[in-house]
Symmetry: C2
Subunit: 247 residues, 2 copies
């Protein structure tokens, strides 16, 4: 039952706490603990794996730093939900320019929602074949002041088997992925560019044609390292900006 024989530990590449961390991640991937559910206590994990509680703590500290679990004193350790660490700042960096009025979380209007075969680029991105399908969503996000951004969202059908033309994506899609498919978004990579808005998008955003827009090309990675979502957004840049803090 021990995670590894301690005698062989010296031969292993990774320190013990890192192997504990990995074994916990594996069990999250397998779905043993879904987002929002609690993990066993430090002592329980330590006993199960045959290591000291302090070593388990270090593994859990690592997971906390990675944002994969949330620990609450007196309550327990929980698989992080997309809600935790305030999605608004974790994955949503767009902010109104000033007059910091809270305009609330943006609402989404879906413009289209179709299943189609994966393009070569999508095949490469998602690691799927030409016979596989992807779902493409096109939506317009607005807050009380009006339209903010236009967005195309693409996911591989394989990982979201029972989608249909009627599937309603909620505002917080990452929580939706977690709750319904056990998919934990562990990392997001974004590329930002300034582009000239097409006539169609400018119309949707209620801007003059050829306005400069902030384009965000985002890939969301699941715990297993594979891309589960590709998203291209074009955002008004007159009233909004993208915030980033580097430490």
């Amino acid at each position: 039952m021990a995670l590894v024989e301690k005698a062989s530990a010296k031969l292993e590449a990774l320190p013990l706490y890192a192997r504990v961390r990995n074994s916990l991640v594996d069990r999250m991937i397998s779905g043993e603990w879904k987002p929002g559910e609690s993990l066993p206590s430090e002592f329980a994990i330590a006993e199960e794996l045959g290591v000291h509680q302090g070593t388990v703590r270090k593994a859990l500290d690592t997971l906390t730093a990675e944002g994969l679990v949330v620990r609450r004193q007196g309550r327990g350790t929980f698989v992080a939900e997309a809600e935790d660490q305030s999605i608004l700042f974790r994955f949503y960096r767009l902010t109104r320019n000033s007059g910091n009025k809270e305009t609330g979380f943006p609402d989404s209007r879906y413009l289209s929602q179709i299943k189609s075969s994966a393009s070569p680029q999508e095949q490469a991105l998602f690691g799927i074949s030409g016979r596989d399908y992807v779902w493409r969503f096109e939506r317009l996000r607005s807050d009380v002041t009006g339209p903010i951004l236009w967005e195309q969202l693409i996911v591989p059908e394989k990982r979201f088997p029972d989608f249909s033309e009627k599937t309603q994506l909620p505002n917080n899609v990452y929580q939706f992925y977690g709750a319904n498919y056990g998919i934990i978004v562990a990392k997001v990579a974004e590329e930002l560019r300034a582009v000239t808005g097409s006539r169609e998008v400018c119309d949707l955003l209620e801007m003059p044609p050829a306005s400069p827009l902030l384009e965000i090309d985002r890939r969301a990675f699941a715990l297993d390292g594979k891309i589960v979502e590709w998203r291209i957004s074009q955002c008004r840049s007159d009233t909004m900006h993208y915030r980033n803090e580097l430490k």
Copy 2:
């Protein structure tokens, strides 16, 4: 000599390791240890402050996570330099689009360099008065393929007393701040927008007039929490993009 009486620890708001961390940061701010210099060993700090070595380790782990120190097994603990954690990715997120040819670190050509009184916005930003001065640098950064970005860089004279019209800023200004003024840039906040390039900037960047440019408004914070540099960059967005990874 002890950091705090342990008896009074219960009354303190912060845990011991956090107070150790803060006292170490204070000494970095005071200039006792400058960027690149080494701190005392864990045991030495522990003895000096009258705490256990494990507590000092936790404080140093925190500082490592914050990027303020770098630890090297067998050698010691060093105040982080701007070079550490590879400046290219820490504070320089601009990358060529594809054909990932390494085009090298961009070179800078200075277009102007003047001292002038602080505008109201600059007074607020830097916390200085209307009688204080700022230095404004305007530069064009290029790599082997040509111009990449135009940039205006503003620093308060107070913190950089012996600047002159002849001061040559090196490419890596943060290392320069550290080595020459003991200023450790602890945090950088950026706001990104898409803008329409002015005729002058488009000319400098060798782009058609009114091209969409990626504008980056950046404030650099020193260890003491004050802003030490304000920078506005406008970057070509046809060949370059801004990369960001959210975890």
